[in-house]
């Protein structure tokens, strides 16, 4: 269980990325954050693991309370929270296995981690790679894998933490539609099997409908929709995307991913 209590985030350049956000993420649910570029999805996700510090309001977890209350609490919270990124955030010249082992770093002290991690951690990392179907690629360099494979390594890295929560920031935005669906289905299945709470930001309405137990719609830094996928009708999409974009939208034929959104990358930086 993870909660946002009236979280507002104002960046140094006076841009308000998130305004008075109230949301709760119950255990084991697959929750989608839906919205256009710049709506505040990345900021909201980064509040959930303290990569972004709220200007006001707080993020509370069942285990830790206010996650920003101390460095130790925050580290413990991050250890239980895996994160998956749009651009994988892997180190290209390390092997898939070495990248996945990053997920085990926080279980060891700084000086212990200068030595090779224990065999138990390596086994865990290999299991994680096996679950995403890449055990045979464990010793390949990350930059030699395809985009879809790299994102699966990213998922494996999060799984290696044995997390309670997985945050995924546009995990399939850099993939082609077919691969995107496969990767998201994999993430969905694993989270279901392990009872992991997932918070996944997407801009594809179709995928949000298919996988979201619950959907939060964001626009202009505010949460403008909160409901199950059946409630995501034309009126709701109007509120999220504005009246223009919903005009051609009919259920079952929405492909937001085919509308290139060039601002996407700048925003997550």
């Amino acid at each position: 269980m993870l909660d946002l209590h009236n979280v507002t985030v104002r960046y140094a350049n006076r841009v308000t990325a998130l305004e008075g956000a109230k949301a709760s993420f119950p255990k084991g649910q697959f929750i989608v954050l839906l919205g256009p570029s710049g709506a505040g999805k990345s900021t909201l996700l980064r509040c959930l693991n303290g990569l972004v510090r709220p200007s006001s309001g707080e993020v509370r977890s069942a285990e830790a309370g206010n996650i920003m209350s101390s460095r130790t609490v925050l580290r413990g919270h991050r250890r239980r929270t895996g994160m998956i990124f749009q651009q994988h955030h892997l180190i290209g010249r390390l092997t898939a296995l070495q990248n996945v082992l990053m997920g085990r770093l926080s279980f060891h002290g700084t000086f212990r981690s200068l030595l090779p991690l224990p065999r138990a951690d390596r086994i865990l990392a290999l299991e994680a790679l096996d679950r995403v179907g890449l055990a045979d690629r464990a010793l390949h360099r990350a930059d030699q894998l395809s985009g879809g494979q790299q994102q699966r390594v990213g998922i494996a890295r999060a799984l290696a933490q044995q997390p309670h929560v997985i945050l995924a920031d546009e995990p399939v935005a850099s993939l082609d539609p077919a691969t995107a669906d496969k990767v998201l289905a994999l993430l969905h299945r694993i989270c279901r099997e392990d009872g992991i709470t997932a918070v996944v930001s997407l801009h594809q309405v179709e995928l949000a409908r298919r996988y979201g137990d619950r959907i939060y719609g964001l626009a202009g830094g505010r949460i403008v929709f909160d409901g199950v996928s059946d409630m995501l009708d034309a009126v709701a999409l109007d509120r999220i995307y504005g009246p223009v974009s919903t005009a051609p939208v009919k259920p079952g034929q929405i492909h937001a991913e085919e509308n290139p959104t060039p601002l996407k990358m700048a925003k997550t930086a």
Partner: protein
């Protein structure tokens, strides 16, 4: 204003620009000539007298006299050891300083500035001066040479390291932070793996440089083949001088070759 007048104004403007460039070029040429004149380059008498002296020297240098080669093996090995030891020391000192001097890994801007100033200071002391100082401090031999090489190199190596670290991809750093890594773990597991090939490159280049530099350091009594070179010069045994220079050249070629092999292997 008619069109032809407009054209005339533009062309006049262009001509003025041309004059400015010509004036600037003339000034640069003048400064260059002045520098040559001040340093005595235009004193033709010295050249006329110098050329036979040079020819004399050159003729005394050939054929190179390698008869004492056994006496040079140990000093050459010393020089090689000095270059490696100096590099090791420089790396050990440079890594933490570079982390402090790179804005993205430095704890704060004040520390970053301080580290950068320290590096500039180390760079600005020539290693031959450091050599003289360390010879006075710890006596003759390879040790003062190593210390001089290392300390001077830190200023250069750490600066290059810091630049490599500064341009690291920030995305894997965010991933490590998100997974709960400590700030030091972010550096050891996300920054360093990314820049390792560049750091290796800088280090190996520096090793090659150290080999050449340690030959020079021998001149101030800091051991190695440079010491032999100086001794041969004092004895006016130019055929030995040329033989030593050729031996150094051979070693430099070998070290360069080894360095480039290692660089490829560490990519």
């Amino acid at each position: 204003m008619s069109q032809s007048q407009t054209y005339a104004t533009i062309l006049a403007e262009e001509r003025r620009g041309g004059f400015r460039h010509a004036a600037l070029a003339a000034l640069v040429v003048l400064v260059c000539i002045a520098a040559l004149w001040i340093t005595g380059f235009f004193d033709s008498r010295r050249f006329v007298e110098g050329i036979p002296a040079l020819a004399q020297l050159a003729s005394e240098m050939v054929p190179p006299d390698f008869t004492r080669w056994q006496a040079w093996l140990k000093p050459l090995l010393d020089t090689l050891a000095m270059s490696i030891a100096g590099t090791v020391l420089a790396v050990i000192l440079s890594l933490p300083l570079a982390i402090l001097a790179a804005p993205n890994t430095s704890p704060n801007m004040a520390v970053c500035q301080l580290a950068r100033t320290l590096l500039a200071l180390l760079r600005s002391i020539p290693e031959i001066i450091l050599g003289v100082i360390f010879v006075a401090a710890v006596g003759f031999g390879a040790l003062p040479g190593v210390l001089a090489l290392a300390l001077h190199s830190v200023g250069m190596v750490a600066k290059f390291y810091a630049e490599a670290i500064e341009h690291v991809d920030p995305k894997p750093l965010e991933a490590a932070r998100a997974a709960g890594a400590t700030p030091l773990q972010v550096i050891t597991h996300s920054v360093l793996p990314q820049v390792f090939p560049q750091l290796a490159d800088i280090t190996l280049y520096r090793w090659e440089y150290h080999f050449r530099a340690s030959a020079v350091l021998g001149i101030v009594g800091a051991g190695g083949i440079g010491f032999e070179l100086m001794a041969a010069l004092r004895l006016i045994a130019y055929d030995q001088v040329s033989a030593i220079l050729l031996s150094i050249l051979a070693c430099v070629v070998v070290v360069d070759w080894l360095g480039s092999r290692l660089r490829k292997a560490l990519k």
